[in-house]
């Protein structure tokens, strides 16, 4: 540390968990976001922009307390607690329940924006990060869930990713099993916690002490491993006797059938072990994975009770895709998302600026990207600038 300080240089830092996007990354980010905005619009979704800051009490409606400790919080002038939005689903639900009250439903909305969470920062996982996502509000049918999943697949394809997999689950499958059993509330929470934290050893230990029948224990222990195609669904069907779990499996089969018609079912696996980290999911849930990224690239599901908490009684489903995660995956998989759009550099020597402006105008009108020099250069200097800045062509006006 002391050695570094000797350099007498003041290097201002950015806050923990934030980052700069330098031109190359910024242009890749812009390209991906542009493609996604176009895609969502093509599917009939309308964009919504909400404030970066919201009241804390609004952001914690319908969400478990878990998220609370991951929020950036501060006070306004009247000492009300504000929070930087930790995700976009809650603000979108707020908008739908207040601004769109009484509008024809279902509503299809999208956003592409930054959200904020205190997390241990790592590559692809900063405290400020960008998300693109959609929400369908006011629809409880499998058709809405299937559309959201199909759109998630299209989003990844449009971003340039080729190899990825979607894991599709249903939280009611587990809920049904737990409700049917004679577990206490505490035991249910322990079991859920072990599943959410992926602690299968701990899960086994809780089950041994739970007093459940051997077959129920085996079933619960197997949930995180229920993973596969349609035959797994049939197998799971034979493992449960309660209505709720069976309805959950029927629901998945319906969604899957629609995904086949969307032509995206090859990207989808069933995985009944998926319980997303948030407590607000009430139906189907899914996560997207791609090679080279140690965490999901996208995720979503059905959250029917959240709108209810905002006083609007209707179902909702949606997904969000991490923009930085897409960029990181593209880089790790060696896919260059950028179009080499650097076109022409125009250099000029004294008194020829007017001519150069005209030339730049003409070229830009024809769709070329053009950088015009701001100071006169010799032909050799202009050549040097073109090379340094990475332009494909040089026009020198003398």
């Amino acid at each position: 540390m002391f050695l570094f300080m000797k350099q007498h240089e003041f290097v201002p830092q950015v806050p923990y968990g934030t980052r700069d996007f330098l031109p190359k990354e910024a242009s890749q980010k812009r390209a991906v976001e542009g493609a996604l905005a176009q895609l969502f619009a093509n599917w009939g979704y309308d964009e919504v922009v909400t404030p970066t800051i919201e009241y804390l009490e609004t952001m914690t409606v319908g969400v478990g307390n878990d998220l609370d400790q991951h929020m950036f919080k501060f006070f306004d002038k009247n000492n009300r607690i504000l929070a930087l939005r930790p995700d976009m689903t809650t603000p979108m639900a707020r908008v739908a329940a207040t601004r769109f009250k009484g509008s024809p439903s279902p509503m299809k909305l999208f956003y592409i924006t930054n959200v904020f969470r205190y997390e241990q920062a790592q590559a692809g996982r900063q405290c400020e990060f960008y998300q693109a996502g959609v929400e369908i509000m006011g629809a409880s049918e499998p058709a809405a869930d299937a559309e959201v999943i199909a759109l998630a697949v299209e989003s990844m394809l449009k971003s340039g990713l080729q190899k990825f997999q979607i894991g599709l689950g249903q939280v009611d499958f587990i809920n049904g099993i737990m409700e049917q059993s004679e577990l206490s509330l505490v035991q249910r929470q322990q079991i859920k916690h072990a599943m959410v934290t992926r602690d299968l050893v701990g899960l086994g230990e809780i089950l041994v002490k739970s007093g459940l029948s051997q077959s129920d224990q085996t079933l619960l222990k197997h949930i995180p491993l229920l993973h596969g195609r349609e035959d797994m669904l049939k197998q799971a069907y034979s493992m449960v006797t309660n209505d709720k779990s069976r309805r959950a499996l029927d629901n998945l089969a319906n969604i899957y059938h629609l995904l086949e018609n969307y032509g995206v079912s090859q990207y989808v696996d069933f995985d009944l072990g998926i319980i997303r980290d948030f407590e607000y999911y009430t139906g189907m849930v899914f996560e997207g994975y791609t090679a080279g990224l140690g965490f999901p690239i996208c995720g979503g599901g059905r959250y029917d009770t959240m709108l209810h908490s905002f006083g609007m009684n209707c179902g909702a489903t949606g997904f969000a895709l991490g923009i930085e995660r897409v960029l990181l995956a593209l880089e790790r998989q060696g896919i260059d998302g950028t179009q080499n759009c650097k076109g022409v550099y125009i250099g000029w020597n004294k008194e020829n600026l007017v001519k150069a402006i005209k030339q730049a105008d003409t070229l830009r009108d024809s769709g070329c990207s053009v950088e015009l020099a701001v100071i006169p250069e010799s032909s050799a200097q202009a050549k040097e600038s073109q090379k340094r800045k990475g332009y494909a062509k040089l026009v020198y006006i003398e």
Partner: protein, 221 residues
């Protein structure tokens, strides 16, 4: 080499005590490589035939490799998992490397109840485990993080209490320390990255099941 190569499985093994039994156990289910040794100068040891990569890491770093997806699966002590709190799959209790996380004090300082030690200084390599243990008992303490030779701290007045991992308790005795509470037993665990567990499910699940079968054939100590 990263785990982005879908054909290969990258296995992380910890340096130190757990290395030999871990490597031995994996070898029994067909996961091994020529010249797989703790002292290898190679950082990545590859078995081309079985499509396996091995990396050997410092124990405290191992969960980080797994969480980031730099390795798909690994073996590590539960103590490290509790202390590091990483987001990963804990698939199997491998039952070896049995130790216990415990609280000890010098004999001269022995009190009647655990709460009588409130506000004393605790020296430990595991501040997170120690804090959550005392917190769960409703006792507030002061924690001092050390990286080794924890028993030394009470002898020289750096702390009154220690929280440490012990196997037999012989070191405690030699230093006149008395175990006053057991936090929990600790064994080696088989762990996996959360995405690898999905994308390479068949392969990882097969290894898990083979290890499980191996364990169930063994008489538990």
């Amino acid at each position: 080499m990263t785990s982005s190569d879908m054909d290969y499985l990258t296995i992380a093994l910890p340096k130190g005590k757990l290395f030999a039994p871990s490597a031995e156990m994996l070898a029994k289910v067909g996961c091994t490589a020529e010249d797989l040794s703790e002292n290898s100068r190679k950082l990545v040891i590859t078995n081309e035939k079985e499509k396996l990569h091995f990396i050997i890491t410092k124990t405290a770093d191992l969960p980080t490799y797994i969480e980031y997806g730099a390795a798909d699966i690994g073996i590590i002590g539960k103590d490290v998992l509790l202390e590091e709190e990483k987001d990963l799959y804990e698939l199997l209790d491998l039952r070896f490397g049995l130790c216990r996380m415990m609280v000890a004090v010098p004999e001269a300082l022995k009190r009647e109840k655990l709460s009588d030690y409130a506000h004393m200084r605790v020296a430990t390599k595991y501040p997170r485990i120690a804090e959550s243990f005392f917190h769960s008992m409703g006792i507030q303490m002061e924690f001092i993080k050390l990286n080794g030779s924890i028993e030394l701290a009470p002898m020289v007045g750096l702390a009154e209490i220690i929280v440490d991992l012990v196997e037999t308790g012989r070191t405690l005795k030699a230093n006149n320390l008395l175990e006053v509470a057991t936090i929990q037993p600790v064994t080696a665990r088989f762990i996996a990255n959360r995405v690898s567990f999905k994308l390479k499910f068949d392969r990882i699940n097969r290894i898990t099941e083979e290890l499980r079968a191996l364990l169930e054939g063994v008489v538990t100590p």
